[in-house]
Symmetry: C2
Subunit: 412 residues, 2 copies
């Protein structure tokens, strides 16, 4: 099956909204072995929608559109699709009932705009929206399937997960595609490529590899495509095993693993608790840890010790050490890690102190200089890093590096 994704909305073309829907849909289709050959973003004008539909490749047999189904006047997709198929819009009573229930549950009144959302082109099969008001629409003729979904990400996802993917799976059985992601921490991309030069040579012809760098982690993706599932899986496994021998110390996870989830799993296994003392990361490590549902089993909390005053008064960092070595130093970050461990009576702790930038650097401590400490009851590991010039990247790199350091300490 060959697919194309069309995302609709002026907000995408003027760059006010990042198109996360396309990536999410692409990922889900890909897991079914459906080949996405193009993603197109267009304006929410009728003419743009017509043109995009006309320009769909002849051999494409699945088109998914998102956006333009809301209750406001700039939402035009439904009208455009009715015109495209030369059909009328008709009131769908089941949708209307759903909308009524939805609105009443939220203690609001049903208004005219809500009602209009129950109008759909008469040739479509309606996909019910259980968490919002705009219905999805499934069109199908002998050429292809066209599916129109809301642009609101969680409504679109709900429809994909509970209706569409299952239906598409039934229609697409002959082709196998598999990905394996290897997460790598602590190596620059070009250094990694150099180390892996031999490994990359003689790649089996059904397999390919890609480097996907992001702040703090490089994802190495191996993709295999073909009809023989077993053969593909074996080839991928061989390459992964070879990789484990080449860079054992830098592999920090696989596939959709997130460092914060891996740490959480490990802490649960050990029935251990953790706390954080964050200076330069400002709460971001806490945010990452608490992004994992169920984290209250192991996360007690932490101190965001942004000012030196808080480091001294709450975390019991020695004032003299701050004066002599500065707040961004081995001595201070170690005391922060020990301080929070004691104060919050946890088994493990993480502490950060750095110069996130864009200003505040010096010759000895340039912007990006970051000290990280991780502590258990009888050991502390402290390490210095010099990240880059960008505040947001530095914060994220420091956070993920710290989480990975604690994981290593627990496993050591």
């Amino acid at each position: 099956m060959k697919a194309e994704i069309i995302t609709i909305g002026d907000e995408l073309l003027i760059g006010q909204v990042v198109d996360t829907n396309a990536a999410w849909i692409a990922n889900k289709l890909n897991l079914l072995g459906i080949d996405i050959h193009k993603i197109v973003s267009i304006s929410d004008k009728k003419e743009s929608i017509f043109k995009a539909l006309e320009q769909v490749d002849k051999s494409t047999n699945l088109v998914i559109l998102t956006g333009g189904l809301g209750p406001t006047n700039d939402d035009i997709t439904k009208i455009a699709l009715a015109e495209y198929f030369h059909v009328k819009l008709v009131m769908n009573n089941k949708v209307l009932e759903k909308i009524k229930t939805f609105v009443i549950k939220r203690n609001a009144d049903l208004n005219e705009r809500n009602k209009q959302q129950a109008l759909v082109p008469e040739n479509c099969t309606v996909i019910q929206n259980s968490i919002g008001t705009a219905p999805g629409m499934w069109f199908e003729d002998n050429r292809r399937i066209i599916i129109s979904l809301p642009g609101v990400p969680f409504e679109m996802k709900e429809m994909m997960n509970n209706h569409i993917l299952e239906e598409l799976k039934k229609r697409h059985k002959n082709f196998y595609i598999s990905h394996k992601n290897i997460l790598i921490q602590g190596l620059a991309e070009s250094k990694l490529a150099e180390i892996l030069e031999e490994w990359e040579k003689n790649f089996p012809k059904d397999l390919s590899v890609a480097y996907l760098p992001s702040p703090g982690v490089i994802k190495l993706r191996i993709t295999g495509k073909g009809k023989n599932r077993k053969y593909i899986e074996e080839q991928i496994e061989n390459k992964v095993n070879a990789l484990k021998n080449i860079i054992p110390d830098y592999i920090c996870g696989f596939d959709e693993d997130k460092l914060e989830e891996l740490l959480g799993k490990l802490l649960k296994e050990k029935k251990a608790t953790v706390s954080v003392a964050e200076s330069c990361t400002g709460g971001n490590i806490g945010r990452l840890i608490t992004s994992v549902p169920g984290c209250s089993d192991y996360f007690k909390g932490g101190i965001i010790a942004y000012s030196n005053e808080i480091k001294e008064n709450i975390l019991n960092v020695n004032k003299r050490n701050i004066e002599i070595y500065g707040a961004v130093s081995k001595q201070v970050v170690e005391e922060m890690a020990k301080g929070i461990l004691e104060l919050f009576t946890t088994d493990f702790s993480i502490a950060t102190s750095g110069i996130a930038g864009p200003t505040g650097g010096s010759k000895e401590k340039p912007v990006g200089t970051t000290w990280i400490a991780v502590a258990g009851k009888d050991k502390v590991i402290t390490q210095k890093f010099v990240f880059g010039d960008q505040r947001d990247r530095n914060i994220q790199r420091a956070s993920l590096t710290a989480i990975n350091m604690l994981q290593k300490l627990i496993l050591s």
Copy 2:
């Protein structure tokens, strides 16, 4: 000028990376009045690049490509462009020198892959990369400009900001486009649309409006296009002023304002300090506040009080209140706000306690129930919200709502 953006990379088509580059470039071009009519994402195969270039609209006179210029074997753009233009790749010594300097600064050795990055198609003008190794390339004939940039976001941005935008501005002077964003907090999208029905009618013909909802804030965007700058600006101003009269209490900012930046500005003006006591938001409010450079002027830090034990022992929340009312209650969140204000000796504070989900709800307190308190020296405002079912959205909505509540308290 009519533009198209082509982003290259299998990672986009299989949904492993969200295309933030396209949005960023679109935004920048749009501010110059350049009309982006399509964004296309394609695979990093030579054939896909050829096809995409062939399918560019005849009337398009600017194409910006990103991606596929890295040091690894899956990076093919440069080779594809040389073939497309029927020219050779030649070594650019200036680029090679830059790469050498760059690599030496990082205490690494210059390897063969780094050197190959200095090869460019002989018909291009090189755009130097001051923060990375891959050069950008500017191609131009009598039909159009084609620009190829690295996919690494901060390298691409640096080249756009320091070279390309200035050059494009010189070539595009006759058309005016203007956007005004109004940020709205505390109203659902359909409710807002209902209130604004009259305001939306009789919109001047050169103006349009769009609703851009995100967790915690709805952005209302007014766009004006035309040749008469003064006229467009006046029309937009009239509509904004009308809006200020209709929903004065819900407007929380304009244009690229971020709530955390507005709060920071206000605190700086008042020479006041703030601290946070976060339960359900788990550090996210701290992260937002510290995402603003210079926040150390007003942010002392906070406590992530995820467990009740920490609420009691560190924040001095009355144990009896947690037993009687539960951790997610008016009483507890108020004590948290007061507790952190005192402990951190700040002028203002924010506290949150809620059920972020996906589990942990009850009939009385369903998932999404969140108490927020903001405090100054002599006043506390506490409010209950029932957000939705989604953990990440609940956390973000609670965080932005809390920041806005504090801003209102300070201004009241």
